[in-house]
């Protein structure tokens, strides 16, 4: 299973890729929002783990851009965020075709694992 991890924090992307690689996933890392979006636009990944707060171009910008170009639905995105998002915002995000779940940092890795597998 091919995974894309988009997060500006290198400690987080390294930790996730080490763990998930050990669990047998093929992980690609992007520490930049625009680069991450370009990779997502190709639709090559089975799951995308997407951070919301990134400098310059955040998760919400990526979602909006992909929605405009009608490419959001080609992805299966797990939002992985430390930002305080209200319940309403969460349910709005989950309504979008292409977003499958939302996890709040710091999450237990086995929870992330089950979100990926579901």
């Amino acid at each position: 299973m091919k995974l894309l991890i988009v997060d500006d924090n290198k400690d987080i992307t390294t930790m996730l890729s080490k763990y998930l690689s050990m669990k047998g996933f093929d992980c690609t890392i992007s520490n930049d929002g625009r680069e991450g979006m370009n990779l997502m636009a190709k639709g090559l990944y089975d799951r995308v783990i997407l951070d919301m707060s990134m400098p310059d171009f955040g998760g919400m910008d990526i979602i909006n851009e992909l929605e405009k170009s009608n490419k959001l639905k080609d992805n299966k995105i797990i939002i992985f965020t430390a930002s305080s998002i209200s319940d309403d915002e969460v349910s709005d995000l989950l309504k979008k075709d292409g977003i499958i779940s939302l996890l709040r940092k710091p999450v237990q890795l086995n929870e992330l694992l089950s979100a990926i597998s579901s």
Binding site: N9, D11, I12, T14, M15, L16, K18, Y19, M22, S53, A82, S83, S84, S86, D87, D88, R104, K105, P106, V107, Q108, L109, N110
Partner: protein
Amino acid sequence: MDLTIDKNNFKIENYSKKSIEELKKDQKSLESEIDNLFDSLNELIKNSKRSLLSKDTQQDKEFLIKISDKLENKINDFFVATYEQEVIDELGQNRLDVESSLRENTGVKNLSEYFSHFRYTSKGNQLFDTISKEEIEKRLQESNDLKKALDVSSIIAITDKIGTVVYVNKLFEEVSEYGQVELVGQHLSLIKSEFHPAEFFTYLWKVISNGFVWKGDIKNKKKNGNFYWLKTTIVPLLGKDDQPEQYFVISTDITKQKELEIKLSEALAEIRKTDELKNEFASMITHELKTPLTPIRGYCEILKDETFGELNKDQKDFVNTIEQNATRLERLIGDVLDVQKLDMGKMTYNKKNLDVNEFLKNVEKDISPLLKEKEIQFSLPGDVKINIVTDKFRLHEIFENLIRNSIDFVSLRGKISVDVQNNKNMLVFSVHDNGVGIPKEKQSNIFKKFFQGDTSQTRKHGGTGLGLVVCKGLIEGLGGKIWFDSQEGSGTTFYFSIPK
């Protein structure tokens, strides 16, 4: 004795639109009608064997007064209701003739007074009915006194019907810094500050030109260019046709109050801005604190997973300690955020149908690792077949906080039990423990921020000091209440109600 005056002998019409010639003619016919009336009266009186001209007896006097009253009313109706002031002046001598002939014939003594009242007011009939000359003079005096009092206490201007100043008082001159000579003859807009939009004055004129009083605050400009605020009342003075002829502008200087108001609203805006900053800061800090916790917690989990190699006992302990402290930090961040949301009234609740039995089992499952650590005997109520509508996640948070609290304060292998009572509109949950209890003198403080029964316990028990504050806030937010019962040395029971 009753006296009836035939209406046919006393025709009264509306004369207001008639020419003076016609009115004179009408007056003549009125006079002859009055003559006729007296003839009939005399006839009547003769018939009843009384003489109109003999005024000796008391009875006759009373009778004559009665007639005069009735006559006065009729004449009053005739003159007052129909004649304009100038018409009356035009009648001049004729009016006096009517007056004297009436007095001669009837002995009506106050007829001349009636005519002087007539000169005081264009609506003399109303006044005449109720007010004597003395009363009018008294009222005029009072009105003069009032004017004097108003003059020294208020800023006054009088304008004509298009707003040209006809009078200003001394206070007006002082506040505007214009002299009376500079103002009279000028339009009052001379003192306009251009602060108010055009619609402000359009509306003001609409109100007053329709004869209504306008009240409001106006910012004006002094001669030297400085601004001042007046709390103003504009009273239209209505003419005969009920149209405003003049405007009475009465004001008080509220420049100082306005300056204070402006300062106050600026201060409020500043406070709001600070609040927004505080919110932004709280959400920023949450993000910044949670982000580094993610790799810390993640690597602990990876190490414990032993995919990268087995750990010895010491190493396992170290990792566990790191993980526990990371978890504690995470809880603290969560609690701080919750308290901030509760303080700001920004906590949101998502109420849905909830199976209490299933819910409590989930709580037990989630908390069981902590219970196991201290080998706690934990019990839930038997099968509870109740469904309620509430926020599942907030209720979970409440239980987790209360049970964690109990875990912190019971000894190894202590007892914690959860119970529920089904009351009328409420479910009353309880979390009981056989821990150290809360000292009596500390009981009133336990719902205060960063308070623990014993401050030295903070470290020992790893609590954040915010758990109960959050619980109270959430329970009240869900429409319930929290209370407790505690015996030092034998345990504590927390109770809380949640609407069904």
